[in-house]
């Protein structure tokens, strides 16, 4: 058995979390509240030492007075406590949201539309991607049909009747097969993590296994 106090703290907190599997209980609640408290304390440290001090205060005091502007905009969040000025909260939010949505538009067009079209097109070059010889053509065609049928499932402005009903049903087949497969694949990763965790408890802490 290991007598390092940190190993004990880690082990007991882990057991407290696992106790939730049986049912909710005071031990879990204590761990939960410690978790939320500690993580926010850690985030305070992070925001202070990694953002506010180096990016704002140090530079502000060394002469970059313009930084007072973002600091002022940031302070507008606190107008929430003053009912007459509370609408000013919208200003930092507008800046934040506006800028990131603007940046988002070209990125998503490039990564999620143009690149995906490229990978789906039926061309001899894409057939070769599979390293499967003539079968590559078959896989590419199945993929192609699957993509188009899945898109049709997300066609909202018409009732799914007739041809659209058929294609959207096929789309669902692809979606569900994919979901099942990625569920199955993820199991392996999560179970391994659990095995590693149990090895820590039984080995590093209790010392009953090697």
């Amino acid at each position: 058995m290991n007598f390092d106090p940190w190993i004990w703290i880690g082990a007991l907190l882990s057991l407290a979390i696992f106790s939730f599997l049986y049912k909710e209980n005071p031990v879990y609640y204590v761990a939960e509240h410690i978790y939320i408290g500690v993580i926010n304390g850690y985030l305070v440290t992070f925001y202070w030492h990694n953002i506010l001090v180096p990016i704002l205060f140090k530079r502000l005091f060394s002469g970059m007075y313009l930084l007072i502007i973002p600091a002022f905009i940031g302070c507008l969040y606190f107008t929430r406590f003053i009912p007459r000025l509370s609408w000013l909260v919208r200003i930092p939010i507008a800046l934040f949201m506006g800028y990131y949505t603007g940046l988002f538009i070209p990125v998503t067009i490039q990564a999620d539309i143009i690149k995906q079209i490229q990978a789906t097109l039926l061309t001899t070059q894409n057939f070769k991607m599979w390293n499967a010889g003539a079968l590559g053509i078959v896989w590419s065609v199945i993929l192609f049909v699957g993509v188009i049928c899945t898109i049709s499932y997300f066609y909202f402005s018409r009732e799914h009747k007739g041809a659209l009903r058929v294609t959207s049903r096929i789309g669902i087949v692809f979606i569900m097969l994919g979901f099942g497969a990625s569920f199955g694949y993820t199991v392996m990763s999560r179970v391994t993590l659990l095995i590693g965790k149990l090895q820590f408890l039984m080995g590093d802490w209790l010392g009953i296994i090697k």
Binding site: M129, Y185, V187, M188, V191, L193, I195, L198, M202
Partner: protein
């Protein structure tokens, strides 16, 4: 027929108990499971096995605690394999947080090797046989910079030695003296960066080891030849161990292969519950 009714609604705690109990049982009585080796791992093994004596292996250990269980066995088995062949090894981590995990692997495997060494020549000596370069931020700096000069990027190693004074570093100048880099990333995507930058710009061969969750994302890189070989999840590590044991005759403990047994139990019990659920569902529904 009442039994089937109950079997459609097994309390989740029974499932938890069965799963947890089986894993604990398998850990108490460890046995390893033989696995068939698939081409991605076989190719990686070949590449590491055929490293010429004048060239080195770089091992990038950049996984965090969430992927430790999957990626750590990979680090152990690759490093053992390299040591067994007396391949020169440079280890590094792209993230400061994970240096501790990297150091642990390096210390453990080196000590294990040296315990069986009979003479000084036979044992691994720091600076002559292996070097721990440590960490240089941001990741792109070592990835590109080592193409020109490794000692230029890592002017001091993890222990504070002047890197260019180490005997090993006199021969290993840049990627031209490196046969393959094995990147064990686990969730950060760093394996891709090695392929995108070091591989494309310097023609460095890159092998990857990643979590099972990322396997599908990384497979295209292997298919396109950007990864020379790859290990996916604990199964990939077990396949490598299989080769290390059967071909390189490494006798060390096979952690991943043992975990494969626990993993098999876990999968089987999950599958068993799904089957039980369906049979009893089928029976009770027919009755109605």
């Amino acid at each position: 027929m009442k039994i089937f009714e109950t079997l459609t609604r097994i309390d989740r705690r029974i499932i938890f108990l069965a799963l947890g109990g089986l894993i604990i049982f398998s850990l108490l009585f460890p046995r390893f499971l033989k696995v068939r080796v698939f081409p991605p791992v076989a190719k990686l093994y070949e590449a590491v096995d055929k490293i010429p004596p004048d060239k080195a292996l770089i091992l990038d250990i950049s996984y965090g605690p969430q992927y430790q269980a999957e990626c750590e066995p990979m680090a152990y088995t690759v490093l053992r394999h390299a040591y067994k062949n007396r391949t020169k090894v440079l280890a590094l981590s792209l993230y400061a947080e994970y240096l501790g995990l990297a150091k642990k692997v390096l210390d453990d495997v080196t000590a294990e090797y040296n315990r069986n060494a009979r003479s000084r020549d036979d044992s691994l000596i720091y600076g002559r046989d292996y070097v721990f370069l440590g960490w240089q931020p941001p990741p792109i700096i070592p990835i590109l910079g080592m193409g020109e000069s490794i000692a230029g990027v890592y002017q001091i190693d993890y222990y504070g030695n002047q890197t260019d004074t180490l005997p090993l570093m006199k021969h290993i100048k840049n990627y031209n003296n490196v046969s393959i880099l094995v990147a064990l990333g686990g969730g950060t995507g760093s394996e891709k960066w090695w392929a995108q930058f070091a591989q494309r710009k310097f023609g460095l061969r890159v092998g990857a080891g990643c979590s099972a969750v990322l396997g599908a994302d990384y497979y295209p890189y292997y298919q396109a030849g950007q990864f020379t070989g790859m290990m996916v999840g604990v199964k990939g590590a077990a396949e490598y161990e299989e080769l290390a044991s059967s071909r390189a005759k490494i006798t060390a403990e096979r952690v991943a292969s043992e975990r494969m047994l626990s993993l098999t139990y876990a999968h089987l019990i999950m599958i068993a519950f799904i089957v039980i659920g369906n049979i009893s569902y089928f029976v009770t529904r027919r009755k109605k």
